[in-house]
C-alpha cells in the first residue's frame, strides 16, 4: 500500500465518520427519516419496500411481521417529500389508487396524523408501526431509523 492510497482511505474513513455523526452534530441538517418501533426486529427498509407497504400492496415487513403504516396529512411538508421521493406519484393518483382498494375491500389507506410529533409518539408505542417525517432527528427513545434521505 503506497502513501497516497493510505491517505485516501484515511480520508474516506474520516468522511464516513463525519457522515455518521452528522445527524447528531450541532450543524445537523434536516433529513427525511423512515422509522419503526425499537422493539421491531427490522433494521432497514428499501424505498420500494416502504412504497409497497404504504400503497397497501403488502401488509408485512420483509421478515413477515405485521406492518401498520402511519401517514401524515396532506398539508404537511414531510408528506410532500414522502410522496415525491418514496411513493413517486401525485396526490390525485394516490387517491384513485386508494379508491380502488377501498371499494374492493382489499385495504384501507393508512391513517393520517397532523404532525411528525404524533407519528413519533405512536411509533415509539406500537411495535408494528411504520412512520416517516422530515426534520431533525432528536434523541428519541424507542424508535429505529430504517431509512434516511438527506435534504437536497
Amino acid at each position: 500500500m503506497n502513501i497516497s492510497t493510505a491517505i485516501r482511505s484515511a480520508l474516506k474513513i474520516t468522511g464516513l465518520m463525519l457522515c455518521l455523526a452528522l445527524p447528531f452534530s450541532a450543524i445537523a441538517k434536516d433529513s427525511f427519516y423512515v422509522i419503526t418501533n425499537a422493539n421491531n426486529s427490522v433494521l432497514s427498509l428499501s424505498k420500494s419496500d416502504i412504497k409497497n407497504i404504504f400503497l397497501g400492496k403488502i401488509r408485512s415487513f420483509p421478515n413477515g411481521s405485521q406492518a401498520t403504516p402511519l401517514n401524515l396529512r396532506k398539508d404537511s411538508s414531510s408528506r410532500k417529500f414522502f410522496m415525491d421521493e418514496i411513493i413517486q406519484t401525485s396526490e390525485t393518483k394516490w387517491r384513485s389508487h386508494w379508491a380502488r382498494l377501498i371499494f374492493t375491500g382489499k385495504g384501507r389507506p393508512p391513517k393520517e396524523y397532523p404532525s411528525p410529533k404524533e407519528i413519533i409518539a405512536l411509533v415509539s408505542q406500537r411495535e408494528t408501526a411504520l412512520g416517516y417525517f422530515f426534520g431533525e432527528l432528536e434523541k428519541i427513545e424507542g424508535i429505529t431509523v430504517l431509512l434516511e434521505i438527506p435534504a437536497h
Partner: protein, 459 residues
Amino acid sequence: MTANMASAFEKHYTYLLQDSRMRTPTMRFANIYLAPERLQQIVLLITLLVSPVSFAFDFEEQLQISGFLSFGAGITDAEPYPGGNNPNDPEDNNNSEEETPKYTAGSGRFILDDQLSFEQDTRAGIQFDFEIDEKTVATLQFVSKAAINNYDPELSWAYLSHQLLPDLTVRGGRFRLPIYLASDYLDVGLAYPWIRPPTEVYSTINMSNLTGVDLLYSVQIGDWIWSTQPFIGTSVFERGDFTAEFDNLYGISTTFTQDYFTFRLAYMEYEFSIEPWPFNDSHASLVDALLLVGLDELLEYHDPNQEITRFLTAGIQFAISQWTLQSEWARRKNPEGGPAVDGYYITLQYQWQRWHSHMTIAGRKELNEDDRFHSDLDQLIIISPTLAANFIAFNHAGIGTEDNESDSLTLGVSYSFSETMIGKLELSRIENKESTGFFEYATEDDINHILSFVIDVIF
C-alpha cells in the same frame, strides 16, 4: 342453433337483472331494497350492534364511510334502418316501427339511443367499513342506479373479512366476482380512465356478485408482489316465473405486480341451470313440437341445465412516466355447441398536469359461429319452417345482442377538478361486424357514434 340457448338464458338472465323497466329481481341472499330514510335506520342499528363488541364505539376510529357518485349522460347518432334484409340472421328483424338503434352494450338492456339519456351513467354508492377488532372488518355497500332499480338503494355487498396473517385474509358473504382488472370497482368511475369499462371485455360475463368465500394472499418475491385470490360460491337469480342458478362456481384470480407493471390472470367455471325447464307455456309447446319432429338431440343440445361454462381472462398494465398502457382479453366458452366469445381492449393513456386523455380500441369476436349456428337451423328449416321461425323468435327474445361481432374506437379526455372529482368526455365509434353488434335495431357493417360525459366523485 339450439345450442345458442345456453347463452340465450344467460343473456336473458342478465337482461332481466339489469333492465330498468322490469321489477328488480330478489336475490336469495340479502337482497334488501331500501328507501333512503331506512338506510339511516340501518346504519344506526348496525352501529348499535357493533358497539357492544368494542365497549365504547369510537366512531372515527372504527367506522369508515366512503362513497362514490357519478353523474353523466350519453347520446348516439344511430339512425333507423328498415331491417329484415338478411333472412338467415335471426336478429335482423323487420323494423317497420322505425325504431332507432339502441346501444345495449351486449347486456340486453337499454343503455343509449338518439335521445340524451342520464340513466346509464348516473349512480351513487356508499360503503361502510366497521372495524370489529384489529383483524376483522364488516363491510356493507349500497348502490343506487337508475338503470337497475330506479335509484332505490340496493345492498350490493355485505361481507366479513378477517386477517389470518398479515398478508392472508379470508372473506365470507356477498362480494364482487373478482375476474377483471376493474371488477372490484366497476361502479367507481374515478378509479378508471373510461366513462364505462370497455363493453367488449366487461360484458363477456355480466354476473357481478358472488355469495361465497374467498382468500386474499400476497407475497413479495424480490421486486415482485404476487397476489392470488381463489374464490368459491354461487350466484342465484330469482324471478316470479323462473330461477337461474350459477352453481359450483369457483375460480382463481392471480396478479403479478412490480413498480410499473401488472399482469393478471383469472379462470372460472360454473354450472348454469334454469328452473323450471321448460320455463313457460310457449317454451313447453316448442319443446313438444321439437320432440314430435324427432329432434331430441337438438333439445338436449339447447338445454343449458347442468352444463359447465368456462371463463378465462388476462390483463396487463404498464405505466411509465406520463403514459399508461392497459389491455385485457377475455374468453367465455359455453357448454357444448354454445357460443364461445373473445373480447379484448387496448387503452393508451397520457397525463398532462390535470388533464388525462385516452385512446381505446376494442373488439368482440364470436369464435364458433359456423358450427353452432347455421347447420342446426338449416335442418330445422327443412323439417318445419314454422317451427324454425318459432325457434328463432324464441331464441331472439332471450339472446340479447351479446354474441355479435363488433369493433370500436374511443377517444376520451378528462380533467381532475380535485383529487376526488373528475370530469370526462368521450366519443366512441362503433362498427358492427356481424348482425346488430352491440345495438338493437342496427344492421351489419353499420357504423354509429356515441358521445358521453360524466362527472365522477368519491368522498
